[in-house]
Symmetry: C2
Subunit: 729 residues, 2 copies
């Protein structure tokens, strides 16, 4: 087949895969919705959670809409300045930005809808059997997973087709691909912006409610977790949905889309033209089909132990990964084959890049689990440090997180070098440039796509956790009996393990994607220099003071960002503490649990909503202003330094925070399981302190950093024209 035919064929296959995933999600959501929602109390509680979550999202989307409108205006102005071909942006960019944000938000919204519908249903099903509970929760997770990947790929392919065949028919060849990819990068920027708001806002909401509820409820008043007397209990459950579901959905939509568009943008420089642009989408497409097939293997007998359930989940993921490993070969072999002087040249090396990405993802997932699961030494040792009180617990957990950064860094490092070399990159230098540099970079991008190809199923195993968590809360509040709580706890704990793996994927792919985005940035600027006949020259040497200072500033951003988000959680939690104390004092009979007396749940939900809303503004603005300001002061060289600095410290810090937080959480659970004196012991109290510190680490700051590093790159790319036109040095 000639290349054009292959591209045409792929352009048809990709949207079909996407629609398949969406249909599958629709089918699964029917499965969930057909299940009974339980008794009246459960329906009422679930309704309150749903109402709270909706209220939060409605308010969040309103606030975010203002931001999107403002950015749209800015982008519109930039696309008009200069006019026509010499404008700083192409005219589709503002619209791409808006749609990226819209669909990222939509992914989170649908995920939350199904999660809040599935929570009571899971509890009710768990009343019958553990397995029925798992089925409902996992189906809900899978809806989310396939909505994210399905919508992501569908949006990408529609934009691509529209740009190629409707809007940009005036251009052709490389110029057309360039124009398409820069619009699509802006689509990615929209998705990243939305994801940042969703992750930061949702993360602040969920942890403020969680910490606030625990500090007064568990610690001061001595009532159990999820007790209906606690006024923050509904807010806590709402938080699981808006943070761990809607936030995560928007986040992974962004990761997925980001890895594809970043690789696409490298296609021209690598000499692959439209073939290079369609291959990442095609990879995503077959990943989607493989993921769907993988879910059919997730089955188990009616009375399976937790270990068996975990093995079942893993089996599905590994089958999907295996399928991708097999199917990727023909794709790379045929779709990436180019014709040079009449001879067909195959670029099979890129296949190894896919494999290295897949393998790196699996390995990072495994080591994340190793460092954070209480079935392994590190977390058990951490549990041991609780014997000498909270101080040693904290030191131990921070040290664990810091130490755990070594292996993922080495895995990503090996994967980068391997993908680069396998795809035609070399370290030989000719004329000051690395030989095969652009092909090698394209390979790095492809490895990120490979890592995220299994996202449909990994996200399914990840997103079911919060559903199970909520189900447990509902079981507790509606007094369903101890056996139901035990089952939902088992599901929840299983979810913790799979969530760790999911986080590993998100962090690893963020690093590779950010790398590809940095390359896209230099590519974009080089293009702009040609187009605008600018005299700017890159000097990206690390010893260039502009690059170095950029590195420093970039390296500091994740720290400051983490500080801002942690402090936001602290402030919001403080407000919840005050409110819960007030209700315990003012609502007579509440603490005693007198019949007919009910806490004012809505006020707590409202406080969290307003806090999250206000607190998410500053960190998001920093992510957008910093690269523009550094660009205007230090020029594009400084921006590349900033991006690399943020990538390096962001990657390391995100792993550290995620793993410290995960290990503290599981060390507490390990003790609650009976070790070291069990619940109520001094060791347990110390472990609770560790867990509370870990909450914003692993659920607010850590995961937001992944988005931050990509958003910084995308902002830099979109504002590249402005920076190039007006930089100081």
């Amino acid at each position: 087949m000639d290349p054009t035919t292959i591209v045409r064929l792929a352009e048809i296959i990709v949207p079909i895969c996407a629609i398949l995933a969406l249909l599958y999600a629709l089918y699964l959501s029917r499965v969930v919705m057909r299940a009974p929602e339980g008794n009246e109390t459960m329906i009422r509680i679930s309704g309150s959670i749903r109402k709270g979550a909706n209220a939060f999202l409605r308010r969040q989307y309103k606030g975010v809409a203002l931001f999107f409108i403002a950015m749209f205006a800015v982008l519109l102005v930039l696309s008009l300045v200069g006019g026509g071909d010499s404008a700083l942006l192409n005219p589709y960019v503002p619209f791409a930005f808006i749609t990226g944000g819209f669909f990222s938000g939509l992914s989170g919204f649908i995920g939350m809808k199904i999660a809040t519908a599935a929570n009571a249903r899971t509890a009710w099903a768990a009343n019958e059997s553990l397995n029925k509970g798992l089925r409902i929760a996992f189906s809900a997770g899978a809806v989310m997973g396939f909505v994210v990947v399905g919508l992501g790929l569908f949006d990408l392919s529609i934009w691509y087709l529209l740009l190629k065949y409707v809007f940009m028919t005036g251009l052709s060849g490389d110029a057309q691909i360039h124009a398409i990819s820069s619009a699509m990068l802006t689509f990615g920027m929209g998705a990243s912006s939305m994801a940042l708001f969703a992750r930061v806002g949702g993360g602040i909401f969920t942890k403020a409610a969680d910490v606030g509820a625990d500090l007064v409820g568990k610690v001061e008043a001595g009532i159990p977790e999820d007790d209906p007397r606690n006024p923050a209990v509904i807010a806590d459950n709402v938080g699981d949905n808006v943070g761990d579901v809607a936030g995560m959905g928007a986040d992974l939509y962004e990761s997925y889309v980001g890895s594809v568009v970043a690789t696409m943008a490298l296609a021209v420089a690598a000499g692959f033209g439209f073939q290079g642009a369609i291959v990442p989408m095609l990879m995503a497409g077959i990943g989607m089909v493989s993921s769907i097939i993988g879910t059919f293997f997730i089955k188990s007998g009616e009375q399976a132990s937790q270990k068996v359930l975990l093995a079942a989940l893993r089996k599905g993921t590994y089958i999907a990964a295996g399928l991708i490993a097999v199917l990727a070969y023909p794709i790379i072999h045929f779709a990436l084959a180019t014709t040079e002087n009449g001879v067909t040249v195959y670029h099979d090396g890129a296949y190894f890049a896919v494999l290295s990405g897949l393998l790196a993802g699996v390995l990072i997932g495994f080591f994340t689990e190793y460092f954070t699961s209480d079935t392994y030494k590190p977390t058990q040792k951490l549990a041991g440090t609780t014997a000498t009180g909270p101080a040693t617990t904290i030191i131990g957990g921070i040290a664990l997180g810091m130490r755990s950064t070594a292996i993922p860094v080495i895995i990503v490092g090996v994967s980068v070098i391997a993908s680069y070399l396998a795809s035609g990159g070399s370290f030989a230098i000719e004329g000051g440039q690395l030989v095969g540099f652009n092909q090698g970079l394209y390979g790095i991008g492809i490895s990120a796509v490979g890592m995220l190809a299994t996202l449909g199923i990994t996200l399914a195993t990840d997103a079911y956790g919060p559903v199970a968590d909520n189900a447990g809360g509902i079981a507790e509040m509606s007094g369903l009996g101890e056996h139901v709580r035990e089952r939902t706890d088992a599901l929840d704990s299983l979810g913790n393990t799979t969530a760790a793996t999911g986080k590993g994927f998100a962090i690893g792919s963020a690093a590779l994607t950010a790398l590809a985005l940095i390359a896209s940035y230099t590519d974009e600027i080089t293009n702009l220099v040609e187009k605008t006949k600018s005299t700017f020259q890159f000097n990206l040497s690390i010893t260039n003071p502009a690059v170095l200072v950029g590195l420093f500033i970039g390296g500091m951003l994740p720290f400051v960002f983490a500080a801002m988000t942690m402090e936001a959680v602290g402030r919001a939690a403080q407000k919840i503490v005050v409110e819960v104390r007030r209700q315990f004092k003012e609502i007579k009979g509440l603490l005693k649990g007198e019949p007919g007396v009910e806490a004012d749940y809505a006020t707590c939900v409202d406080i969290c909503t307003r806090s999250a809303q206000r607190e998410m503004i500053a960190p998001a603005l920093m992510a957008i202003i910093a690269p523009i300001a550094v660009g205007l002061l230090l020029g594009p060289n400084g921006v590349v330094g900033l991006l690399a600095g943020a990538l390096v410290t962001g990657f390391v810090l995100a792993i550290m925070m995620a793993n410290s937080g995960g290990a503290w959480d599981n060390a507490k659970k390990y003790i609650e399981g009976g070790a070291l004196g069990g619940k109520g012991s001094e060791a347990h109290k110390a472990a609770v302190v560790g867990d509370t510190v870990g909450d914003p680490f692993k659920d607010t700051s850590g995961p937001s950093i992944n988005i931050l590093i990509k958003l910084l790159s995308m902002v830099s790319i979109v504002f590249g024209g402005l920076v190039l036109a007006a930089h100081l040095i």
Copy 2:
């Protein structure tokens, strides 16, 4: 005057300044030793502390000697391989390495000698008046300060003169300077290695003893701090001397020497020849004289308040800084003037580099104080977080530390750009290179030298803290009465403030010096490439995968290093806890304080010594092996990435850890001063947890990271020949 005369003159002035400083230190040590040591109990306690400190240092030096012998052998082999001119190292390198280590250790040793002699004397003097106490403690601190700078400059100038006029007379011009500076960089590497051992070993000792003593004594047994019944109390006091005095002495000796040799190594490339090599030493020399003059202004009336005392200390420092600002001008103007085509060209711009360094140091010091002193908002707010328990205290402290990184990063960034531009660097690009790049880099080096020029006096105000701390312990143990303890506490608390400033200097100068060292590395490799006719080419672009992977690995190292040192403190403290518990149980009457019953102090000292000894090996080895391993795998490009990565995350992490730790410490003191319920309240308990977590942050891991980032660079330079000859890609 012609350049040669100026260089000759400077070569005489520099050692004279150094000798002056040493004589002044000798005079001050006489002042200290003339003071009475107090009553019999005090003499006995002081003797025990001295004995313990000596025992630790003796054992440490023995262990370190083995390392130095091994490294000497390795370097000797490298200097013989190839033979003669084509050897991988010049023949003086192994000897330079040994002497660097020796003198760094000696600085720490002398500092510790005077500190352990001054502790009881300070307590006894404080019995008479606050001011007399201050005088003794400050004099001891000044002995340490001037020994460090005096020895540092003396050693540098002797090596320089020997190399230039005795050993390397066969070479001339630039080749000679190159050979000299590469030997002197190895001198720096010796000093850094020693400093790392001293900081890490001392840091582990002091914090293990401190945390161990507190956990059992204060928390479990409920006896006050520094109570003689506590078996770890002597170890705790020994720790102040071996960690905060000997460790800090070796550390700052290394910083001082490092900034000078790094700048010297840049002189040739900048086109300044011997003038450029001597100017950093000359700057250090006038800094020394200015510092001596500054100390004469530290006076105050007999009944001064703490505020007045602090103002007096500050006055001395500011006068020294002012003098340097004035004297630096003629030095730069005359000593750096070159003759081109018969016309004298002045390079006065470098003067602004000196000023920017001085100013950056002062500003970083100020902001460190702002974030960590309880007279400002951040620490007061942190104290407020203790109201909701230890978890919020920890989150608050970590967030404070992270947020506090922004300002120093920006200050260093501005200083780098300003020094670069002022000294002739430009961002214009010709032939792919930055115009005036090497002059600009030399300017960055000069700004580091400028920042450290006041070291004599800043170190004096810094090193007196531990002396006052020890004096307080001795006053407590020998029952000197409440008023003495109050006075020593006042001195100690003043010391905390000045120590914060000192840490700011150390971190800021480490960043600038490490920068200069990275430049020296590329310079060294470029030279080696010419010499060995290697085909290697630099491609330091951040987008080069080798550089990027190096960046990642480098960025991870400070995290892993911090984890290793924190865990070491935890393990060692655990052993002390076990031992103290054992003594309380087995030594009858000890806890009740029966007369004649004494704790077995020596065993605790011994446990700390052995732990520190064993635990310092792994982190030190990592610092030496990592750059060589990365070099062999990824080549010199990867090494530069590694150095830059470690510099960026190391700088940010070191600031964060120092400031979080300092703020927790002072938040606790703030509460002990009566705020938020005062001593014994729940808030105070939470603050103690924060302080305990902060101990290894600020006194073990944080300060060691400064040394780590420089040692990595020096190791890379020394092993550059090996890496160049045998790298994989």
